[in-house]
């Protein structure tokens, strides 16, 4: 875990500790250095005074040539454990008396060097032995640094203890002191976390003081309140919208039901009177035919054919509404087979017609077989119908590619139409030909378009008068999977 990812509380504690410990370390280092040099100076002064005392204690022995006495005097140095060795030299530089600590391995120099203090692996002091302003000899004192190293050892423990105690005190104090600073921030972060996790904007942070943190808490709470207000407004709007949608859906469903009921009654109730009109027209013709002149009989025939056209119209409308209402049950369909079945029906109805028909095989599509049958009924029926006046009627049904997609096409060489009216081709009840030329209700293509659209497809036509027509349609749900 990196420091910057620590909780702010620990950051605070760690920072305070770092500051305190480095401050105390710096002080301890300075103190140590100062004390060390003081100790060193003390050691030197101590050595100097030792050598001076020893020298002055030995003056008589030296003067009266009593090395025994001098040795006795120097042996008193054993009370100073740091002193390794000492030597007393006479005026001529000959070793007169000496002292060596039991464990000392170095020998005393044959002759004393020049006066002075030498600091190396040992501290060596060479000085004069004076008597009444007269130099009567030389003293040599050698000391180790044990005094200094003992002091370092002892003071290191003390300093380490001080540093440790400071660190502990810093930890304790910063843990106690961080509360008033950081408690509001920690609480704020906690509230923010809860708000984010529970999406509960009704939570509020407590304000503890009128300082910057207090302001932060206040503004945070204000923000939450704004979000809450906006949220509830949004929720209300959404609820209202939902209610409205439900109302509309209900309205639509009711309207749909009414439409269905209407269609049903059209099917049922309008057919019955039509049957009456047709039936009784026939009765009239049969029973009273001879009493009517030719024109009268012709009028009655017109009444009958009008009723039958109306019956056809009603049927078409009904099947169109059925197309709209029935649920789609798609499956794999071979349009080639379907087309052949339709064509067989057409040939049966008009056995006298000679039509050259080409149907590609197979033409696999995915769709509702019943509805696709209605599509082919209408399109092939149209082609059949509009080629009836051609000497060499030709119908072609197949599949091609356009814009990278499979497109079915149905081409005839029939009457065709003016492309200026292409837009109205699929409008219900809209016909581009006179009924006397080609019978029809104007519902078929509208039904076909509805079916293709329900399959997610598109239908369009290309034509020119007397040049024939080509219908194109796509069935996206029918795309072959590679």
């Amino acid at each position: 875990m990196r420091l910057r990812d620590l909780s702010i509380k620990w950051k605070f504690v760690v920072t305070i500790m770092i500051v305190c410990v480095s401050a105390i370390l710096a002080s301890v280092a300075v103190l140590f250095a100062f004390e060390y040099s003081a100790m060193e100076a003390l050691l030197e002064r101590d050595l100097e005074s030792i050598s001076r005392v020893s020298a002055s204690n030995c003056t008589a022995a030296l003067t009266f040539d009593d090395p025994q006495a001098a040795n006795d005097t120097l042996s008193a140095l054993s009370a100073k454990p740091a002193i390794e060795a000492a030597g007393l030299y006479d005026k001529e530089g000959r070793l007169f008396a000496s002292y060596r600590r039991a464990d000392d391995k170095n020998t005393l120099p044959e002759r004393p060097g020049s006066d002075g203090l030498e600091k190396a692996s040992h501290l060596t002091l060479i000085g004069p032995v004076m008597l009444k302003q007269e130099r009567i000899g030389t003293i040599y004192v050698r000391s180790d640094f044990s005094t200094l190293s003992n002091w370092i050892g002892a003071s290191a423990w003390v300093f380490a203890g001080v540093v440790l105690a400071t660190a502990l005190a810093a930890l304790l104090l910063s843990s106690l002191l961080q509360k008033p600073f950081l408690a509001p921030i920690v609480e704020l972060a906690d509230i923010a976390r809860q708000v984010s996790a529970k999406k509960d904007y009704s939570l509020r942070a407590a304000k503890h003081a009128e300082d910057e943190l207090g302001l932060l808490v206040e503004k945070f709470n204000e923000m939450l309140a704004q979000i809450q207000t906006r949220d509830s407004a949004l929720e209300q709007a959404r609820d209202e919208l939902e209610v409205r949608v439900q109302e509309r859906t209900r309205d639509l469903q009711e309207t749909n039901k009414e439409l269905e009921a209407f269609s049903y009654s059209v099917a049922h109730d309008l057919r019955a009177p039509l049957r009456g009109i047709d039936g009784f027209s026939q009765v009239l013709l049969e029973d009273y035919g001879p009493r009517l002149d030719e024109t009268g009989q012709e009028h009655l025939q017109r009444v009958r054919s009008a009723t039958q056209r109306m019956a056809q119209l009603l049927d078409d409308l009904l099947s169109r509404s059925k197309v709209t209402r029935s649920t789609l049950r798609p499956s794999q369909v071979d349009l080639h087979e379907l087309a052949n079945a339709v064509l067989a029906d057409l040939r049966r109805q008009n056995p006298e017609r000679q039509v050259e028909v080409t149907v590609d095989a197979p033409l696999i599509a995915k769709g509702d077989p019943g509805l696709l049958r209605i599509v082919l009924d209408n399109l092939l029926g149209n082609a059949w119908k509009f080629t009836s006046k051609k000497e060499r009627a030709r119908i072609e049904f197949g599949k091609t590619q356009a814009d990278g997609a499979s497109v079915f096409f149905l081409r005839d060489n029939g009457a065709g139409f003016d492309m200026a009216y292409a837009a109205k081709l699929f409008t219900v009840f809209h016909r581009l030909h006179k009924a006397s030329d080609f019978p029809g209700t104007g519902v078929g293509l509208a039904t076909v378009q509805r079916i293709v659209q329900r399959h997610g497809g598109r239908i369009w036509a290309e034509s020119a008068l007397e040049q024939g027509t080509t219908f194109y349609f796509t069935l996206p749900n029918a795309e072959e999977r590679p």
């Binding site: 008589a60 003067t63 040539d65 008597l131 009444k132």
Partner: protein, 177 residues
């Protein structure tokens, strides 16, 4: 004649060698006399100013011959010149700071009596010197020259003898004290 000559040479040699022995001993003793000055302390009045020399006196027999003069020649102690004087009368010797007394018996006792009250460090080598009231007596110990000191009589005379010197000496007291 030849025989007499040989005997003469023999005696001469013996005397010379005895003198030579004596002379080494007294040369050391002469040095000691000088060095005593360095470890003893006189009352300020006795020492006078720097121009006043410190006097080493010899009363009675002089065993040093010329050695004492040689020893002190050109020597200074604490800025004072050192001079050697010979005295016939003890009362004259009161001016000496250090006085070697080459006397024995009644003669010694009289001399010491005459020196009483004078800040003079008295030095001798006769056996009874300390008992007679002398302060420092030369002795031969382990073939080396040493000395005995009676600090009490020195103190009586107003002299302070340095602790270091006392440490080298055998401390004695006069009989009857």
């Amino acid at each position: 004649m030849r025989f007499r000559m040989a005997i003469l040479v023999f005696f001469l040699c013996a005397w010379v060698s005895a003198y030579a022995e004596d002379s080494l001993e007294y040369k050391v003793k002469a040095g000691f006399l000088l060095n005593f000055i360095k470890f003893a302390e006189w009352p300020a009045a006795a020492l006078g100013d720097k121009d006043t020399p410190i006097v080493i006196g010899v009363l009675g027999d002089n065993p040093f011959g010329p050695l004492l003069e040689k020893t002190v020649q050109n020597r200074e102690v604490d800025g004072h010149k050192v001079s050697v004087r010979k005295y016939k009368q003890a009362k004259d010797a009161r001016e000496a700071h250090v006085l070697f007394i080459g006397m024995k018996g009644e003669q010694l006792a009289g001399a010491l009596k005459a020196l009483e009250g004078s800040p003079t460090l008295t030095v001798g080598e006769s056996d009874a010197f300390i008992d007679a009231g002398g302060m420092v007596r030369f002795v031969i110990r382990d073939e080396k020259v040493g000395f005995e000191i009676n600090p009490a009589s020195a103190k009586k005379a107003g002299l302070k003898i340095g602790a270091q010197l006392l440490r080298l000496a055998k401390i004695v007291g006069a009989k009857g004290e």
